[in-house]
């Protein structure tokens, strides 16, 4: 198990003149609508408990207004909670003094924004050095590092442009370079790719995954798009009305949605592209199957199985046989039909 990086416990946020006064009501089950209608306060987050591990991409999903932005802004304390605890690397973020908090924001966590939030009066290069100059790094060194990151996100040669002269995708690359330049362990991304066209968005996801495979940052990534969540998320958490309704791997979310809200998210996706052999693998390894790696998606596996004249797949992990999967298993899993066989998985 990787190290615990961010631990959020018992976090509540109630927006309004006196949020703290209504905590007990919320704890006792008063919901978002009632709180707003009877008490004039907005329930932002309730009873949030989540562990985020070092080097992983934690996706947080939910519909508009479910509290995603509110949650991510608690991590660097752009929003103060009504009550709760946020521990990062074992340090309590909420008990930091003003100057400790500045230090934390400068060195330990950086952020990418949905609408880019670049400084329009500064060039691409000067935008990228912003975080570095907050760290007190000398100008020429800052520019050297900034140029390096601009190159990494594919913007070499654009250093002297102004943000307004760039397309949305390029502006967000600047946003990413600015965040990476500070060398912070934690990267907070609030719908960072939501404002981009589908093609550009896929492009940016690719860039992020490439960088992550070598940087191993702890990334908290907000999105309302399940395809995006499944593509880049190691872990996925789903928010509804300020509540975390499900946490797990992409496989968990797709196979065992906790409620209709989650099921609704997953209903339109191509399950064969998400589910992997490892998730479906059950029973004794059959001797006669074709051997395929557990990380393979069903789509690829079905293809391979159909092409081989065998009846089943022998699932392997690190060269070891761990179980078997039949064509029937895969068709059931891909088509959301509940199947009776096997006692480890039930499909919806």
């Amino acid at each position: 198990m990787p190290d615990l990086k961010i631990k959020i416990s018992d976090l509540y946020k109630i927006f309004g003149s006196n949020g703290a006064a209504h905590i007990d009501k919320v704890r006792n089950g008063v919901g978002k609508t009632e709180l707003l209608e009877k008490h004039g306060h907005v329930l932002g987050l309730q009873n949030i408990n989540i562990d985020i591990f070092a080097g992983r991409i934690q996706v947080i999903m939910g519909l508009s207004g479910s509290g995603k932005s509110t949650l991510i802004r608690h991590i660097n304390r752009l929003i103060e909670p009504t009550t709760g605890q946020i521990m990062i690397d074992g340090k309590d973020v909420l008990s930091m003094s003003a100057s400790e908090l500045l230090h934390f924001r400068r060195f330990d966590a950086s952020m990418v924004f949905q609408k880019f939030a670049l400084l329009p009066h500064r060039t691409v290069l000067a935008n990228t050095t912003y975080g570095l100059s907050m760290q007190g790094i000398e100008q020429s060194e800052a520019e050297k590092r900034a140029s390096h990151w601009l190159e990494r996100v594919g913007l070499a040669g654009f250093e002297d442009r102004f943000p307004a002269q760039l397309s949305g995708g390029m502006q967000q690359r600047v946003g990413l370079a600015r965040a990476l330049a500070t060398d912070a362990d934690i990267l907070l991304m609030d719908e960072a790719f939501s404002a981009l066209d589908p093609l550009i968005r896929a492009d940016m996801q690719g860039i992020l995954l490439d960088l992550q495979s070598e940087l191993h940052k702890t990334i908290v990534f907000i999105t309302h798009d399940l395809d995006e969540a499944l593509r880049i998320g190691d872990d996925i958490a789903i928010l509804r009305d300020g509540n975390l309704v499900q946490q797990g791997s992409s496989q968990d979310i797709v196979l065992n949605p906790a409620d209709d809200y989650v099921a609704d998210f997953t209903k339109d996706i191509n399950r064969a592209r998400v589910l992997t052999l490892g998730t479906l693998s059950h029973q004794e390894p059959s001797v006669d199957g074709i051997a395929l790696d557990s990380a393979l998606t069903l789509e690829q596996a079905m293809n391979d199985l159909a092409a081989s004249e065998k009846e089943a797949i022998t699932v392997t992990k690190d060269g070891q046989m761990i179980g078997q999967v039949t064509m029937r298993d895969m068709i059931y899993a891909a088509s959301r039909v509940k199947a009776g066989d096997g006692d480890t998985v039930t499909y919806r």
Binding site: L78, L102, F107, F113, Q114, L118, P120, H121, S167
Partner: protein
């Protein structure tokens, strides 16, 4: 003592204070203020003394500087602001014309008071605007004051200013500033409040302190608005030139006043047009400069 004179009320006369009471009230206020100015007038005058010295020095400097040098400086300023040869030529020709019509000295005096008033308005107005942008309470307190300053007839505040400081350059300068400072305060406040919330959040997320955010994000982004405020402040200061002349400020307003009382048509029109010429030059140059500040907003999409 009754506060309403019931016997006087008719359909055309609304309830009124009894005449003697009203007279006593006015006398009381006047007396108190006179007392105050007798007591503190000198202290206040001393307080403003350095300002007076500076104004005198600056005005003499402008008047004694050789005219070709002044033309070069004005031409350079106009180039710096507008980057347009047309503006530079226009400026130089306008000032040559002013000199040719024997208005050089008055024009220099007017330039002196308008520049000092503008600089002081900027130095005082921008910090006030920043404070207003920071807090809704401060804004709610200052906005009505600005409204009063802009709508009250200038003659009304000339009275206490003259009672306190007498006739002269400093009271004139104060009168000009009272009238000219509201736009710079308003537009600084507005400009800072209009800065994109997400950009501010980004500044916070990267660990900017209050001052870093103010100087590196808020003020630069508010600059086009602040500059529009400076432009308006200059225009309003220029429009006070004649009224300032009434309380002893030298400059182009003085001949205008003389022209009014003696019915000298040509004198009045010439000096009036000189004020207009200066106003147009300042306006065009500062607007061109303001536009240049916003250059980065021009998108040439795609690259």
């Amino acid at each position: 003592m009754a506060l309403i004179d019931w016997s006087k009320i008719t359909l055309t006369d609304p309830p009124q204070m009894p005449r003697e009471v009203l007279r006593e009230l006015k006398k009381g206020i006047d007396g108190t203020f006179r007392e105050f100015s007798r007591g503190y007038g000198e202290a206040i005058e001393n307080f403003f003394h350095p300002l007076l010295m500076f104004l005198k020095w600056f005005q003499d400097l402008l008047i004694e500087t050789p005219w070709p040098l002044i033309l070069v400086i004005l031409g350079a300023l106009s180039w710096w602001g507008s980057r347009s040869w047309k503006m530079v030529v226009g400026t130089v020709v306008a000032f040559l014309f002013i000199g040719w019509l024997d208005m050089w000295e008055d024009t220099m005096a007017t330039l002196a008071i308008v520049s000092v008033a503008t600089l002081l308005c900027i130095a005082i107005g921008i910090p006030i605007g920043i404070l207003m942008a920071r807090s809704d309470r401060v804004q709610a307190m200052i906005l009505p004051v600005l409204d009063i300053m802009q709508t009250i007839p200038s003659f009304v505040y000339l009275i206490p200013v003259v009672m306190l400081l007498g006739i002269g350059k400093v009271p004139g300068l104060l009168a000009v500033m009272i009238y000219a400072i509201p736009p710079i305060v308003r537009l600084t406040n507005l400009g800072i409040r209009l800065v994109d919330k997400e950009v501010l959040e980004a500044a916070d997320a990267f660990g900017s302190s209050y001052w870093q955010k103010l100087f590196q994000v808020q003020i630069p982004l508010a600059l086009p608005n602040i500059f529009a405020g400076v432009n308006q402040t200059i225009m309003m200061a220029l429009s006070m030139v004649v009224i300032a002349a009434m309380i002893g400020v030298p400059g182009l307003g003085v001949p205008v006043l003389r022209a009014v009382s003696n019915q000298y048509l040509a004198l009045g029109v010439m000096n009036g047009l000189a004020i207009v010429a200066i106003a147009i030059i300042f306006d065009r140059v500062s607007q061109a400069f303001g536009k240049r500040l916003q250059k980065h907003r021009e998108g040439e999409h795609g690259a």
